[in-house]
Amino acid sequence: MSEQTTTDPALAGASQQAERPSAFRRVMGGSVGRNLGLVIALVVLFIIGTITAGDRFADVNNFLTILRLASIIGVISIGMTFVITAGGIDLSVGSVMGLASVVASLTAVQAAATQSSWLLMVVVALAVGAAAGLVNGIVIAYGKVVAFMATLAMLVGARGLAELISGRRTQIVTNRDFLAFTRSDFLGVPILIWIFALVAVAGWFLLNRTTFGRRTVAIGGNAEASRLAGIKVKRHLLSIYLLAGVTSGIAAIMMLGRTTAGTSTHGTLYELDAIAAVVVGGTLLVGGRGTIVGTVLGVLIFSTLTNVFTQNNLDTSVQAVTKGVIIVIAVLLQQRFATRGAAARKS
């Protein structure tokens, strides 16, 4: 019943003050808070691993094994993070990696590399990855084919091409220098892990500290607004798929080193592993938000999980069922912690 007429201008200033976030909230709202769910998941996995498998699990060599396993899919996932952040998807990463491994380990390439430098194999792998990424980018950005389909086509096509080129044979890497490099250690840590770390750090910097990253987030958030703000959306999309292709090329080099063989079957289903790691990490599948730290944590969670399973001698089928449940839990954890503080926007 109260219909008072009240005017109090004094309140206007006060409310502004109250709205500045506290230091604690700022930290929690930052990358730590966003990734807290993942860190918890990882810690829980480590605890489970240590309890169930004891010293065998909590051992430096075992950690290196986990990291080595993570490194190849990790590099691919960094590229995938950019693609997904920009609102796209790349299903071809695994098969492009296979193709690059095949081309780089061709007898002719290896012969040329022996005569010149092992770096030739590196260059070839990167070039193949870049070329495939370029094709993806052109078809998606300029041909306007939806990314899912364009890269699905590339997935099928690149695998076929790899089979044609290799004659479906596994090509053995014989170049000593190449193997010496890719299988070497640095400060007691395998070079593959260093490469992953390097790519992750570079990716983090690129995404968070450069105009390239800003454009990526902007396009994923609202492509039309970005275009109207003067961003060259098509060219940027092209360069993002190119980037993903290059990470596939890097992964191919790592795979060649790790398996000493190039084959068209390398990288089968890596696209799903990479997407899973990226999304579990907290990058939005619809684009507009991406986190490299989250992706790295996502990759580590999956490879630690595999390791814990193996340590405990779990039946493959039981593993699969458990993995299904754990994926859901990980996503839930990640989502709960990421939105906490950002509150429920919708009731």
Binding site: M1, S2, E3, Q4, T5, T6, T7, D8, P9, L11, A12, S15, Q16, A18, E19, R20, P21, R209, T210, T211, F212, G213, R214, V217, A218, G221, N222, E224, A225, S226, R227, L228, A229, G230, I231, K232, G288, R289, G341, A342, A343, R345, K346, S347
Partner: protein, 505 residues
């Protein structure tokens, strides 16, 4: 008008609602009687939309009571509100682009038998509803995605009417409408109130309140500062003081004379876009403001978008400072010093989940970078400067754009091009949804920019605004320039005359 003073239709007491970090409502009271038009006023971000969302079941209030026809209730879901007889036209267009008009209108209460649609009936009813709204010419089977913002608003309206309602809440329905449409809207509202249906009406155009409103409630910073004032007894300056806590002169700043030798910065020559407009030619000199007046759907937005390169012209050229721009290239336009604030800020302008400052620097972040490496501190500083200049609220540069009120979101777009420092600025509906205070600020700002030598083109559905703000006016009808004249040589009826004659011809 039915008056039932004893039991109000709706009574809201002490509603509070907090979002993360913002106390949007701090205690709001509202009493709505049957058959009245109750206006809710408040500055951008005052909490008007939040209030109505607690009434329509979108948000659950943290505290307070809602009494509906004498009974205390809770509204937990939009369905509950609809069942009570509360229909809402939201500020953000809440239609589904992929469905037809009829499907949108009957979404959620489809005409059906055992789950099977009676399409014919829905279309017939839709045609009736549209006719009632004065738009019997729009086929009910048109996909809503094809409609202009104004027509989407009509669909929203028809949807509210399609239900058996006792109260219709309209959150800034007139923002996307031109004067003809607004008149039409008022006719419908009077129709409704005559049947005893109450209307809660939100608008930033105070003259509309005078025309249609019965009583007024004012919200300021999430608190009721006035409830149930009678429109007739409250003066406009008093309303403004209730809303803003200060006095605002609601006049257009005087135009400063344009130097005789001012260079032509923008030249549009014989520009056409098939299906939208043809043969548009005009020039804008440094310091000049040119307005495009016309009815909704006359193609003004397309003209601006084509000048900016967001659409590729079928023929004709656009030159900035004498250099012809390639057709259909936004980034060439931006590089040449052109800026564009689009009409639909959500879909065309903002990164809703990104912090305010990144939205402000969206077209300039490269400038704050060295060797591709961003300098967020500099960006934040630049944004903060504009936030202060435009009185953007809340002013935290790290707050996501999504959490700002509509009017403040509009200011972000202006801030973007202010940071950019354009020589040619295209503004499409720059004051849509902006409150009186901010509106005056924007006018002053636009004038100041012009005085500093910027060439400006303004599109607005408020003819008064176009005339008041511009030096020169192009009257557009059906994609053609009907007249080009000095703003001082024409008045609102004159423009409407021209337009109606033009479309009748």
């Amino acid at each position: 008008m039915i008056n039932d003073d004893h039991v109000a239709l709706l009574e809201v007491r002490g509603i509070t609602k907090a979002f993360a970090g913002v106390q949007a409502l701090k205690g709001v009271n509202l009493t709505v009687r049957r058959g009245e038009v109750h206006c809710v006023l408040g500055q951008n971000g005052a909490g008007k939309s939040t209030l109505i969302k607690t009434l329509s079941g979108v948000h659950a209030p943290d505290a307070g009571e809602i009494v509906w026809q004498g009974e205390e209730i809770t509204i937990s879901h939009p369905i509950a509100a609809l069942d009570l007889g509360i229909a809402t036209m939201y500020q953000e267009l809440d239609v589904v682009d992929g469905l037809t008009i009829a499907e949108n209108i009957f979404l959620g209460h489809e005409r059906s038998t055992g789950g099977m649609l009676r399409v014919g009936e829905a279309n017939r009813l839709t045609r009736e509803l549209l006719s009632r709204l004065g738009h019997g010419d729009i086929p009910p089977t048109t996909e809503v995605g094809q409609l202009s913002a104004a027509n989407k608003q009509i669909v929203s309206m028809a949807r509210a009417l399609s239900r058996d309602t006792k109260l219709i809440i309209m959150d800034e329905p007139s923002a996307v409408l031109d004067s003809g449409e607004v008149k039409n809207l008022f006719r419908v509202i009077r129709d409704l109130t005559a049947q005893g249906i109450a209307v809660v009406y939100i608008s930033h155009r105070l003259e509309e309140i005078r025309q249609i409103g019965d009583r007024i409630s004012v919200i300021k910073d999430g608190r009721s500062t006035a409830s149930g004032l009678s429109v007739a007894d409250t003066s406009t300056p008093e309303l403004i003081r209730l809303m803003t806590g200060r006095d605002v002169a609601n006049v257009f700043p005087p135009a400063s004379p344009i130097a005789v030798n001012a260079p032509v910065l923008l030249e549009v020559d014989d520009l056409s876009l098939r299906g939208a407009f043809s043969s548009v030619s005009f020039t804008v000199r440094a310091g000049e403001i040119v307005g495009l007046a016309g009815l909704v759907g006359s193609g003004r937005s397309e003209i601006l978008e084509t000048i900016f390169g967001a659409r590729k012209a079928t023929s004709g050229t656009v030159s900035v400072a004498g250099r012809t721009l390639p057709a259909g290239s936004v980034d060439a336009a931006v590089r040449a010093g052109m800026g564009f604030s689009p009409e639909e800020r959500k879909s065309q302008g903002l990164l809703l989940d990104e912090p305010l400052f990144k939205n402000v620097t969206l077209s300039t972040f490269g400038r704050f970078a060295r060797g591709g490496v961003l300098n967020e501190r500099a960006e934040r500083d630049a944004a903060r400067e504009q936030i202060a200049a435009l009185e953007l609220r809340p002013g935290d540069p790290d707050r996501p754009a999504r959490t700002l009120s509509g009017g403040n979101q509009q200011k972000i777009l202006l801030a973007r091009w202010l940071v950019h420092g354009t020589t040619v600025l295209l503004l499409d509906e720059p004051t849509r949804g902006v409150d009186v205070g901010a509106r005056a600020e924007i006018y002053t700002l636009v004038r100041r920019l012009a005085a500093a030598g910027t060439a400006i083109v303004v599109v607005s559905s408020e003819i008064e605004e176009v005339l008041g703000l511009s030096d020169r006016v192009l009257v557009i009808g059906d994609g053609e320039v009907l007249t080009t004249t000095n703003a001082s040589d024409i008045d609102e009826p004159g423009v409407l005359d021209l337009v109606l004659k033009g479309s009748a011809a």
